[in-house]
């Protein structure tokens, strides 16, 4: 497996109404790896993902997917690039008016010229890969959160993409279900040789699935490297994130209590 980069991000800058969301991001995703993008809430990680899959256009900088700059290329080239990516959104985003099978069949029906019987087989195969073979006839509203995630993976992989993007795969799931999704991601990489980018803030699953980790903080990419070396990192912020320590801005609770007591005009009990 070569180390060629399938996605190359150079000097990506994103601003919304004068506020910088992403500040000169440089990032490579290598073929066949699982890269996990970690960051706190509001760090811009979901925004970065939306740009990587071409849903939004950046102010400056380039995003090159499989050698094609997705913000400069023609419509036909973009279509070609999009056929090689699959996306699993945070809330699964299955089409609510269709059954799970129809959801998985949808990209095949719209984008290929396969006959119905072949499509049925592909749908069964994809559902089997995510362990939902018996749930094809169910509607999304009848499934649990973990099943929805699995179904969205089945749909995202329907056209056999080379690159799979996950937005918060384990958000809102219990630990056991989340572990199942982690396993599924690793399976996608190992068995199907996909390149996977996962955006998350879940440390445990990040360390379990990642080949490399990248940290976003305050709109910047602050650290990127193989999982082992990140675990040994001495960068204070990365340590803080890994050790799950809160920010120390106003931590003096007794002082806060004192102020509150003064306002209310009562005596604060000394401890």
């Amino acid at each position: 497996m070569g180390n060629a980069s399938v996605v190359v991000v150079r000097d990506l800058v994103v601003k919304y109404g004068g506020r910088t969301i992403l500040d000169h991001i440089n990032l490579d995703i290598r073929r066949g790896e699982v890269l996990v993008l970690l960051g706190g809430s509001g760090s811009g990680k979901s925004t970065l993902l939306r740009h990587l899959i071409g849903l939004e256009k950046p102010q400056s900088g380039s995003i090159i997917v499989k050698g094609v700059d997705i913000n400069q290329c023609s419509e036909a080239e973009l279509t070609q690039v999009r056929r090689s990516i699959g996306v699993s959104f945070q809330n699964a985003a299955l089409f609510g008016s269709m059954t799970v099978s129809e959801n998985v069949a949808f990209p095949l029906l719209e984008r290929t010229r396969l006959v119905d019987s072949t499509i049925e087989e592909v749908v069964l195969l994809k559902l089997a890969q995510v362990g939902l073979v018996h749930f094809g006839a169910f509607y999304p509203s009848q499934l649990s959160g973990g099943m929805l995630k699995r179904a969205s993976v089945a749909r995202a992989t329907a056209l056999d993409p080379e690159i799979l993007f996950f937005d918060e795969p384990s958000a809102g799931l219990d630990p056991i279900t989340a572990a199942g999704i982690d396993e599924l991601i690793v399976y996608m990489k190992n068995a199907l040789q996909m390149t996977v980018l996962v955006v998350t803030h879940e440390l445990q699953s990040a360390f379990k699935i990642a080949d490399r980790l990248a940290f976003l903080r305050d709109q910047k990419l602050v650290a990127i490297g193989p999982t082992d070396s990140i675990a040994q990192s001495t960068d204070p912020w990365v340590r803080q994130f890994l050790d799950r320590l809160p920010d120390r801005t106003s931590d003096d609770k007794t002082e806060l209590l004192q102020q509150l007591a003064e306002r209310l005009g009562v005596q604060c009990p000394k401890n």
Binding site: I85, A93, G96, P107, R111
Partner: protein, 270 residues
């Protein structure tokens, strides 16, 4: 002296630009969805969009028949009462027949249909698309390299283009029948005779102008309803607001368009 007028003018300018931009967006979406209709092919390998168009026709068309007929029947009666109370003074109550026949086919039929369909389907379109926006289903379509306008709007557009003229015919019939009931109970004319008289008073252009209007209304309702849906930002409450503004905007544009077309027909088809 310095602040307020400048701010007011700025505000007027901004909202004007906003409306101009909105009309531009409507035009772009109209063009895209029109192109998308070409791809709706019942004989395709997977006629997904055709099936969706049929579903939309059933929902927006068949489902609307009772309410459109009832509303048009009431409007026909209202027209007959209002006209009758004046014409009675002239001793020309039988003129209610052409009044109802022409008033319904040219004006009330298409308008009643458009208002009903705005309320039923315009709001449904915007709510459906708005919900798809906030659940990222629209983003999913984009990442599959599918144009959401062609996938979602085009079948709805085709459906309304087919269904609105049909509903208008239903409204025309119901409205004229209501006039028949009025004439039968006042002058005692038989329904058969009334229908003959009503049809005699109609020219084909009366019906055609109504049907042409209904096609324009179908376009406006679909495009405004869907655009309001695509513009949803934020959470579920934004979907509700989109549905409300879709209905208000659709009815407003329908009435403005009705005025323009009525004025046009007044000149070309006197």
């Amino acid at each position: 002296m310095t602040g307020t007028p400048a701010v007011a003018i700025e505000e007027i300018g901004r909202s004007t630009l906003g409306e101009v931009e909105y009309i531009g967006a409507l035009a772009v979406q109209f063009w895209q969805s029109l192109r998308g209709i070409k791809a709706i092919n019942p004989f395709a390998l997977h006629p997904l969009r055709w099936r969706r168009a049929i579903d939309e026709m059933v929902a927006a068309g068949v489902g609307a028949v009772p309410i459109v007929a009832l509303t048009a029947f009431c409007s026909g009666l209202i027209l007959a009462f209002q006209g009758g109370s004046e014409l009675r003074k002239l001793g020309a109550l039988e003129l209610v027949i052409p009044l109802v026949a022409i008033g319904i086919t040219r004006e009330a039929g298409p308008l009643i249909t458009a208002i009903t369909v705005s309320g039923r389907s315009g709001s449904a379109f915007s709510a459906e698309i708005g919900a798809m926006v906030i659940t990222d289903e629209i983003s999913v379509l984009k990442t599959m390299a599918l144009d959401p306008v062609q996938v979602i709007v085009s079948p709805k557009f085709l459906a309304l283009l087919v269904v609105m003229p049909c509903l208008t015919v239903v409204a025309d019939l119901a409205g004229i029948l209501a006039g028949g009931w009025f004439v039968h109970s006042t002058i005692g004319t038989s329904l058969w005779l009334y229908m003959r008289a009503a049809l005699d008073s109609l020219y084909i252009r009366d019906i055609l102008s109504g049907l042409m209007k209904s096609i324009v209304f179908a376009t406006l309702i679909t495009q405004v309803g869907c655009l309001q849906g695509f513009r949803v930002k934020g959470g579920p409450e934004a979907v509700g607001r989109a549905a409300t503004s879709a209905v208000v905007r659709a009815i407003f544009t329908v009435i403005v368009a009705d005025l323009l077309f009525t004025a046009l027909f007044y000149v070309v088809w006197p």
